[in-house]
């Protein structure tokens, strides 16, 4: 990107969750549900004398996207690392459950989820995990009717139980700055040692889990510039493709065939994964 383009573009990454939801929906259609004035604070953070937020870091917005009824669920990466507590997870699960009810009644409400999250909020540990199981169930139920589109722009990325939720989405859009992986680098280093994963090696982390790599290896569908219009048009394009004949999460035989060919005696490189998945997972 040239300097001129950099100055002109409307960064999606720099927007907060509410602003991202507003920018995705058609102008003038944004309506927030269970918003900050409902004061849905986390009861568990307060108990631990930690900072709370009136929306618990999740924005639920209803509106239209390219004219279609849509609910956007945007996670705020700047609050507690975008972690999922009881309230935030219930907002996402509850909204997806209502979108499912709409579809069962003939209203084709679709959902987009903006993932900017480290996963379970460890201060609410088991209720965060339970909430994630519930929102995962809701994604699987809704995606039979309409696509569920996931977006991760960065810079937090998408980790933990929420990366599994990302893997359930019908389509997934990333930027180069975003990362998608189950275990954060620090946690792998803690659990398996620095030789397994050095959490300070940023090039290694982005090389293996960044948006460019995930898209090249068919673990994401598009890698777009950090530009609001580009993100929005990619999401609209995903919805226009309709429900995929086979979701990525259901390509069991394809993934197992690839994994059977992995040389597990040595560590994996980004190039190894590209060689294996680029062909093995091509549609």
């Amino acid at each position: 990107m040239t300097i001129e383009n950099l100055l002109k573009r409307d960064s999606f990454i720099e927007r907060g969750a509410r602003s991202r939801a507003q920018a995705l929906l058609d102008p003038g259609t944004f309506r927030e549900l269970a918003g900050p004035f409902a004061r849905l604070y986390s009861p568990w953070l307060a108990m631990q004398h930690l900072v709370t937020q009136a929306d618990d870091g999740v924005v639920v917005a209803k509106g239209k996207l390219a004219g279609k009824p849509t609910v956007v669920l945007a996670i705020e990466g700047a609050f507690q690392g975008g972690s999922m507590g009881e309230v935030g997870a219930a907002k996402i699960a509850g909204a997806l459950e209502l979108a499912l009810r709409d579809n069962e009644r003939g209203v084709p409400t679709q959902a987009a989820i903006v993932f900017e999250t480290g996963g379970v909020r460890l201060q609410e540990a088991n209720l965060g995990l339970a909430g994630i199981a519930e929102l995962q169930s809701a994604i699987v139920a809704l995606r039979r009717h309409r696509p569920v589109v996931g977006i991760s722009a960065g810079t937090v990325g998408c980790y933990g139980g929420m990366s599994i939720a990302a893997g359930l989405c019908s389509y997934f859009v990333m930027t180069r700055e975003a990362r998608l992986g189950l275990n954060g680098p620090q946690v792998i280093e803690q659990e398996a040692g620095v030789a397994e994963f050095d959490a300070r090696q940023r090039a290694l982390i982005w090389g293996l889990t960044g948006g460019e790599q995930r898209t090249a290896t068919h673990l994401a569908d598009a890698c777009v510039e950090d530009d609001t219009a580009a993100v929005r048009s990619s999401v609209i394009g995903c919805f226009a493709r309709g429900v995929p004949p086979v979701h990525r999460s259901d390509r069991t035989a394809d993934f197992l065939a690839c994994l059977a060919r992995v040389d597990t005696d040595r560590q994996a490189t980004a190039q190894d994964v590209r060689e294996l998945y680029a062909k093995g997972l091509e549609r």
Partner: protein, 272 residues
């Protein structure tokens, strides 16, 4: 982790299926078919394999291959009963110390493998298969999400070795910038942070907690108790028209989960 604990999932799988042979020759995911309440049922467990090709998944962790194998074993059952009015039950025998933490795992997309398992279990439940999760050991984090947390009903053994959590103590302390001692202190007063099964039971997510007389070597009576609990859970599922997870929201510690949903439902329709 001692081997006695590591093989708990395998032990219960054997006890509950009368030693049925696994239907596949997979080393880390065992799928066995046996009878539950007079119906054919599929039982699944993730078990250790010290020779597993993926070195970070040798102690019963749910890794890349395990996630996709679970998905395959569940989807086989969905396909078998595709046209059947009566869908066979699936019992997830849960003893999973964690997901596999490793570079290979991240590189090849372990999140996607676990999503494969979650989707298969959720599809099975939503298609009408009664899914029961039986927690006989650890039920940790992403591994639990992939193996058991999508069940209609969850049952746990009341045992100090049984625990449910989002992350091991050392890592949880590192990520939340606390000491392990501080974490343990908080866990004693904040119910969702606790590691033990009795605290977890207070969240209202479990259907039942079972007291056995001999946890290390269950006797006939213990096995009958677990069988009975599985049959009762199955009957409860069959009586319930709902195939979602809403039965987990009734507990006193789930007030926020209920009030958020009520508010969303009230505000949802305004623009139609």
């Amino acid at each position: 982790m001692n081997t006695n604990h590591a093989s708990r999932g395998a032990m219960w799988l054997r006890l509950l299926t009368g030693g049925a042979h696994p239907v596949h020759d997979w080393t880390t995911v065992h799928a066995c078919d046996a009878i539950l309440a007079g119906r054919p049922a599929r039982y699944l467990a993730v078990v250790p394999d010290p020779d597993n090709a993926f070195p970070r998944a040798r102690n019963g962790e749910v890794g890349l291959v395990e996630g996709w194998r679970l998905a395959q074993a569940v989807r086989e059952v969905i396909a078998l009963d595709k046209d059947a009015a009566e869908k066979r039950p699936i019992v997830a025998v849960i003893d999973v110390p964690s997901q596999a933490y490793g570079r290979r795992e991240e590189a090849y997309g372990i999140h996607q493998a676990l999503a494969g398992a979650v989707a298969a279990y959720a599809d099975a439940r939503q298609a009408g298969h009664p899914v029961i999760g039986l927690i006989v050991g650890l039920a940790m984090s992403g591994a639990f999400l992939a193996h058991g947390y999508q069940a209609n009903r969850l049952i746990a053994l009341d045992d100090p070795l049984v625990a449910v959590h989002a992350m091991g103590k050392a890592s949880a302390a590192r990520v939340t910038l606390r000491s392990v001692e501080a974490l343990e202190q908080l866990a004693a007063s904040v119910p969702p942070m606790a590691y033990d099964i009795r605290s977890f039971a207070s969240l209202g997510i479990l259907h039942e907690v079972l007291q056995l007389t001999n946890l290390a070597l269950p006797d006939e009576q213990d096995i009958a108790l677990v069988h009975g609990a599985l049959e009762a859970a199955l009957a409860d599922i069959l009586e319930d028209p709902r195939r979602d997870l809403s039965c987990r929201l009734r507990g006193p510690h789930r007030g926020a989960s209920r009030s958020v949903r009520e508010l969303l439902a009230t505000e949802w329709e305004a623009d139609q």
